[in-house]
Symmetry: C2
């Protein structure tokens, strides 16, 4: 059995530029693709078509934000099971962020499948791989809100913030799987290690420290920024890149925390 990681590695061997939130094309164009599948990413009993469309586009636009890009437009392809009639509501949800949906393809499928490709522009596209030891790790907004609220499918892509951070960041990623995973990805792509101080994580209302560290779907941005740069007041420093490799989550005494035991620590 081939693992998902092995499949991604196989894909990387064929495709140019896989490994960032979006591909960077000549002329500052960035190009990203995302697929949402019923039963994997969402549940039709829990969310209506508008919310599902909004969630799908939100994740994709968050990828744009993570590149420091401003989205230009999107195309969507829908796999639609028998009996599903809400394509217009799906499309309305996708278009709800004000980014034009300029094309669509519709086909039959057993599960509802939504695939969105977004095109954006960035004066200075930011990859995951440019971080250097000594860079501060900063996040937008607050973390763990989706985990604390039982996942609402609500996404606010940080386009404006991404554009600001994109002027100064050495590396950037959006937090789709939680900083305990995504900070490691940024550090690995940058050839560094990373330390995240759990006490510094800006927690969403009701979120535990563990939820702030490991909860998914927050779609906030994590940027690496040189220590000499003055930060906007909405950005929170949560750690730094260090020489070496691996991500360490530490308590206020600098002791590495094993998140499997996190409930006791909190």
């Amino acid at each position: 059995m081939v693992s998902e990681l092995e499949m991604i590695e196989a894909l990387r061997s064929v495709a140019v530029g896989i490994g960032d939130d979006a591909a960077v094309l000549p002329g500052g164009l960035v190009f990203a693709s995302d697929m949402l599948v019923e039963g994997v990413h969402f549940d039709r009993e829990r969310f209506d078509a508008f919310a599902i469309g909004r969630r799908a586009a939100g994740a994709n636009l968050s990828d744009m934000a993570a590149m420091g890009a401003v989205p230009v437009c999107m195309v969507a392809a829908f796999g639609v099971p028998k009996g599903f009639e809400d394509v217009a509501a799906l499309a309305a949800g996708i278009a709800d962020y004000g980014v034009d949906l300029v094309g669509g393809d519709l086909t039959r499928a057993d599960q509802l499948v939504i695939s969105i490709a977004a095109l954006g522009r960035a004066e200075r596209p930011v990859l995951r791989s440019g971080g250097r030891p000594g860079d501060l790790l900063v996040v937008t907004g607050s973390l763990g809100g989706q985990a604390a609220s039982g996942y609402t499918a609500e996404v606010t892509p940080r386009i404006a913030e991404g554009r600001v951070l994109g002027q100064v960041a050495t590396a950037m990623i959006d937090l789709s799987d939680g900083i305990a995973s995504d900070a490691g990805r940024l550090a690995e792509a940058s050839g560094c290690g990373a330390i995240v101080e759990l006490a510094l994580l800006p927690r969403a209302a009701g979120a535990t420290v563990e939820q702030a560290a490991t909860g998914g779907e927050d779609f906030e941005l994590l940027a690496a920024i040189g220590p000499e740069v003055s930060l906007p007041d909405w950005a929170t420093v949560v750690g730094r890149l260090i020489p070496g490799d691996g991500l360490r989550l530490v308590d206020p005494d600098g002791v590495t925390v094993d998140l499997r035991g996190w409930d006791h620590f909190a």
Copy 2:
């Protein structure tokens, strides 16, 4: 029960620019999206992963060709069922036309789902809607080959031909469903009627006239071109746009043929 046509109409009401093979963006960029679903578009028992990937990209690149565009790059998203391990071969099939696959997304799904978005450039993007009464209808290559051979999943997108025809065509579409359907779409988008002379259809080896008219998956181009334009010798005139609406398929005596009875006519 809402029909697929009603869903497409609903989508059209939200999305800007749906109705062509690709969306046209400022600066001559064109942007298209396609989704292929196992059991709907292909059968994994019959085709290997490389062939499926090649078929998926071929259909998308054919959309580029139909706009008179040269493809720049593609992104792909894959929904992968348990036990499917050939993502690298899928991606290799997609990249087989020499157009860079610059990004990918991978997720679980019950059926194998492949969604490709392509970005291209056209000096003069050709829509379906620019045809005028009096324009000749011309096709590339030969028709009915896929129907005659039992559908091989083999696609040769007519990029070079699309670029040449794109310099002079008033409207263009690729023949994915057969000229008996697609010529009607071009005519309707152009606000015209159309006549296609069945005896003029360039038939692929072994193809009946009915297969040439109604067989899908040929992915040849159908262009409307003013009668004063000199045509390349690989283009075949098969009919013309006329005032009014509707598509008529006619025999050499100009008598309208009902394709339900076509076997007897042949």
